[in-house]
């Protein structure tokens, strides 16, 4: 926020409020960044790449499971 470098305006599921970002002063967040908030303070920045790789892992597992299910459905043991 202008004039107050340790405060930032955030949107939490549509609710706008001001939080303290002093704990991220080593790597201050930029507008548009996602942060983890606890009792009015931002504790860490959400790392988009890490989130994407976690999701990729989950997608991979989901796909393998879907493949197995469809293989099972197609299997005709007689």
């Amino acid at each position: 926020m202008p004039g107050q470098a340790d405060l930032a305006r955030v949107d939490v599921s549509g609710v706008k409020r001001v939080i303290n970002v002093g704990l991220l002063s080593d790597e201050p967040p930029a507008p548009g960044d996602w942060v983890l908030i606890h009792v009015g303070f931002a504790l860490s920045k959400i790392d988009e790449e890490e989130a994407a790789s976690a999701l990729a892992f989950l997608e991979g597992i989901g796909q393998a499971y879907a493949d197995e299910l469809s293989a099972l459905a197609e299997s005709r043991i007689e």
Binding site: L24, S25, D26, D47
Partner: protein, 377 residues
Amino acid sequence: MRFVDEFRDGEKARALAAKIAALCEPGRQYKLMEVCGGHTHTIYKHGLEDYLPEQITLVHGPGCPVCVIPMGRVDDAMALAAEPDVVMTSFGDMMRVPGSNGSFFDAKARGTDIRMVYSPLDSLKIARQNPDKRVVFMAIGFETTAPSTAMTMLRAAAEGLTNFSVFCNHVTIIPAIKAILDSPDLRLDGFIGPGHVSTVIGCRPYEFIARDYGKPVVVAGFEPLDILQSIYLLMLQLSAGRAEVENQYSRAVPWDGNAVALRAIGQTMELRPYFEWRGLGFISHSALKVRQDYAAFDAEVLFQVPGVRVADPKACQCGEVLKGVLKPWECKVFGTACTPETPIGTCMVSPEGACAAYYNYGRLTRTRVAAAGGARS
């Protein structure tokens, strides 16, 4: 919401559950402890135990901030609140914790000036607006919350406030984990590591668990898929005979934690020689107090704190629940004399407490499964 909804997909949960089941060795039982109360809450809320094979038991750990506060500390806080001109400020979940003469809410109803705050910065604001009052912040919580209290004290010092102080009850997670590892009652196979604490302390402090105790640790996020993936990673380690620290929650937890937060804690607080934990007893170097340089903001210096020690109510078995020795429903008063509306023990107070989480989300499922002839425990 982004970074939340994607981690709640039921299909993927079933896929992970199948992977987990495939890793179970026949005849072997696995006990995994989720250290953090936030995880306990997610596990019950989303019924994650129902996804897991019978062989895996989740044991609920001590990482619930209000649960570990002993009754004597609540009584001490009440004594502070009753001092002339004092405004006691507290987080919401602490308001309902019973002391020997009722909770903060009860005292508030009797006319004591106790106010609920969302952040310690709200307490600071109350202090600024009421220069004729002495505002005390009831500080509780692990390393997740301690930096916020530290930053608030630093700010109070910078502003030169003289009517704000902290009643410091911050605790540290590692000594509690160590106490559980050294407890003969419990044999655990691995740990689901606390996610939010780790945003501050990082992952290195858990290395002794893998190195000295030979047990795997996976630091986990708080969505259902985060927890299932962490269990999968633990099972992968166990099936390969590995014991390492892994970070499943890397989107929020840097391996080395938050240096600014650790500096703020170190600047304003230091370790107490020992501290009493509900259920776990006295644990050395397990809690923080305000440093002498900041004594002007230390309620324990500014006021006479009685230092009350009170035994937990006889019927309450929070101690055993906190150590994971007892399941919530095995406590004699669970759901009868002790409910979230009229809690006897702390585990029934906080939404992060195992008893409250189980009461709110789990107990009906259990009855239903039992009625259907199942025997989940």
